[in-house]
């Protein structure tokens, strides 16, 4: 391979550039700025011609060199005579010329000022809040319509979603709840052992799990599992224009898609919470009986005396609220999804984050309210 060679000869009306050797990517192609610098003051404002008889080979390397050189010549008022270049090169350079580009490009490169950025962000937040409120309003109206028996959705969708969000979630709820019950018992036993009060592990685990932890753990599991799935499903439907198709046929996406998902979670979350309570207490019992030398009946009796219906109902209320929150977060993020593959991933992540934040905030509000009301 002969290396790229460049020679500048002065001519009566400007300069002649002789290109020889190999002008392919990877070979040492000179800089176009060097060519202009090599032209004397006399050649500037005149004509640049080419001689390529000894050009060995070329590819994008030569094309990029020439495109940049022509751009510099244009800016310096140097006219270019392309007739000495191979026809293929001339055609491709012409295709890439500024005149052949799509006009009216107004994107990229420019960074808005800080004030514009603050205003844009604030407006986006307001818009986002309005969208959330509108969505909650629509979902409430759809729910009321459903109670009056007038909502448009397929009963089969509800049954399938109930199966997906209920029975199929049992294995993961079992594992997490059992482990959380065991962890709670371990932590409680470290302190209680010091006073010889290991038996109260049953109280700590029982009240902790049944009143709030069972519901929170189920809520977080469902947010990661089901909330993300809802967002991904609706996001993909948004990308594929399936939601547009529903709207054009007169269906409300909130009634048709969101309502069955919301109903399914409202029904299944309390049931999963009861199951999670049982598993959590069982986890505490495994630690209590197996490691703290408590009797089985002793543990059961202590748990029964510690728990009452109020604890149980408060836990159920938590889970009912979490069900609505997880479904709303998942469906809202799915419907807000933009039309690209990466947006679907973002929608799913956002659904999980929104779901968990809502669960924590709701727990704080409910706990505080219970405290004030003396429940």
């Amino acid at each position: 391979m002969i290396p790229s060679e460049l020679k500048i000869d002065k001519t009566p009306d400007g300069a002649l550039l002789t290109l020889a050797g190999d002008w392919r990517l990877g070979s040492a192609i000179p800089s176009p700025d060097g060519v202009i610098a090599g032209l004397g003051a006399a050649e500037k404002g005149q004509r640049l011609a080419f001689e390529t008889g000894n050009l060995e080979g070329w590819d994008s390397g030569l094309l990029v060199f020439l495109a940049k050189l022509f751009d510099i010549c244009r800016r310096n008022g140097i006219s270019v005579d392309e007739s000495g270049l191979p026809a293929g090169v001339r055609k491709l350079i012409d295709l890439a010329s500024p005149e052949k580009q799509r006009s009216g490009v107004t994107h990229g490169g420019e960074h808005p000022s800080f004030l514009v950025w603050v205003a844009d962000t604030a407006l986006a937040q307001v818009k986002g809040a309005k969208e959330v409120l509108a969505f909650i309003g629509e979902a409430t109206l759809a729910f009321v319509k459903m109670l009056r028996g007038k909502a448009d959705f397929r009963r089969m969708d509800l049954i399938v979603t109930i199966q997906e969000t209920g029975a199929q979630a049992l294995p993961i709820v079992t594992l997490i709840s059992l482990l959380v019950g065991m962890i709670l018992a371990f932590i409680a036993s470290i302190q209680l052992k010091m006073f010889g009060a290991q038996i109260y592990v049953a109280d700590v685990v029982g009240i902790g799990i049944v009143r709030v932890m069972g519901a929170i753990m189920t809520g977080i599991i469902m947010s990661g599992r089901t909330g993300a799935a809802f967002a991904a499903q609706l996001g993909t439907m948004q990308v594929n224009e399936e939601i547009d198709a529903l709207e054009t046929l007169g269906f409300s996406p909130v009634e048709f898609l969101v309502l069955p998902r919301m109903l399914a979670l409202m029904l299944m979350m309390p049931l999963l919470c009861v199951y999670s309570d049982l598993m959590g207490v069982l986890g505490g019992m495994i630690v209590g009986v197996g490691m703290l030398d408590l009797g089985f009946m002793e543990y059961v009796h202590q748990s029964r005396s510690a728990l009452n219906l109020t604890h149980f109902l408060v836990g159920l209320f938590h889970s009912f609220v979490f069900g609505i929150l997880v479904a709303v977060a998942g469906c809202l993020r799915g419907l807000q999804c933009e039309r690209s593959a990466s947006a679907v991933g973002y929608a799913a992540t956002s659904a999980v984050v929104t779901g968990i934040v809502c669960i924590v905030v709701a727990t704080a509000i409910i706990t505080l309210s219970c405290q004030v009301l003396g429940i």
């Binding site: 392919r24 990517l25 990877g26 390529t52 008889g53 000894n54 050009l55 060995e56 080979g57 070329w58 590819d59 994008s60 094309l63 990029v64 495109a67 940049k68 191979p86 026809a87 293929g88 090169v89 055609k91 491709l92 295709l95 890439a96 010329s97 500024p98 052949k100 580009q101 799509r102 490009v105 994107h107 990229g108 490169g109 933009e338 039309r339 690209s340 593959a341 990466s342 947006a343």
Partner: protein, 263 residues
């Protein structure tokens, strides 16, 4: 596009040879006994009705799907019998434009075009940037470097996909339904671009299409796949096939059914 300085297209030497190819899905045979040669500098059209296996054949030609039987030779090297390293080297000679453009949605157009260059060349970042701008300008998208695929139209996505397919200066370009979903003017511009690339760079182009206007405008060689007899029933220059093919189905296809009405 390692093109010598001479202007003319390279001689008619075989780049791709397909021998006794059989395509099947499980026990269902889609096509059998496919035998054809694609010469250097050809714009080769794979044509046939919907569902006849055109896109499957293209996937086999670019190494995405293994044939049930037969072989595909690139400059005499059998792709499916070659070592993994040889296959990887061969793949770097291919540029593929998928039907929807298949741009990576999380990257800008510039990043889409730059990725193969960053992966397979040792060019400095500045040169890669210049190359990316040039390739995008070549397809009429100069200035769109910072746009994301979701911000541009379907036709622009296809052109950006073409800029990415050309990023490594491949000597074989494959197009899957390039005109699908484009307005007539955009389709014509894309056809012109294919011809320019083939003539200027000597790139061998393989196009899967059933758009008659494109077939006659750009095709220099072709193969017609007939799903009823499960094999190819016509091969050669589409314009010549229209005049000389003895198969009424080929004539029917190339005349949008008007040939059958006349007979």
């Amino acid at each position: 596009m390692n093109m010598p300085a001479e202007e003319s297209r390279s001689g008619k030497d075989a780049v791709i040879e397909v021998r006794g190819l059989e395509m099947s899905y499980g026990s269902f045979v889609l096509m059998r006994d496919l035998n054809f040669t694609i010469n250097r500098g050809d714009i080769f059209i794979i044509m046939g009705g919907s569902g006849c296996g055109k896109s499957t054949l293209l996937k086999m030609l670019v190494g995405l799907k293994q044939p049930a039987r037969g072989e595909i030779l690139y400059d005499g090297v059998s792709y499916w019998e070659a070592e993994h390293e040889v296959q990887e080297r061969l793949k770097r000679r291919f540029g593929i434009l998928f039907q929807s453009g298949a741009l990576w949605s999380s990257m800008t157009l510039a990043e889409n075009v730059a990725l193969p260059l960053e992966q397979y060349t040792t060019l400095p970042p500045g040169q890669i940037r210049d190359l990316v701008s040039f390739k995008l300008s070549l397809v009429g998208l100069g200035g769109f470097e910072d746009f994301y695929p979701s911000e541009i139209s379907g036709g622009m996505k296809k052109r950006a996909g073409l800029a990415r397919a050309m990023s490594l200066d491949p000597d074989l370009l494959f197009f899957d339904e390039p005109s699908a979903g484009l307005d007539p003017i955009s389709a014509r511009l894309l056809d012109d671009l294919i011809i320019e690339l083939s003539e200027s760079l000597g790139t061998t182009v393989v196009v899967v299409t059933h758009e008659l206007a494109s077939i006659f405008a750009i095709g220099t060689n072709s193969v017609f796949l007939d799903p009823d007899v499960k094999t190819m029933t016509g091969a050669g220059d589409p314009k010549r096939l229209l005049k000389e093919s003895p198969d009424p189905k080929v004539i029917n296809f190339l005349t949008r059914g008007e040939g059958a009405q006349q007979s």
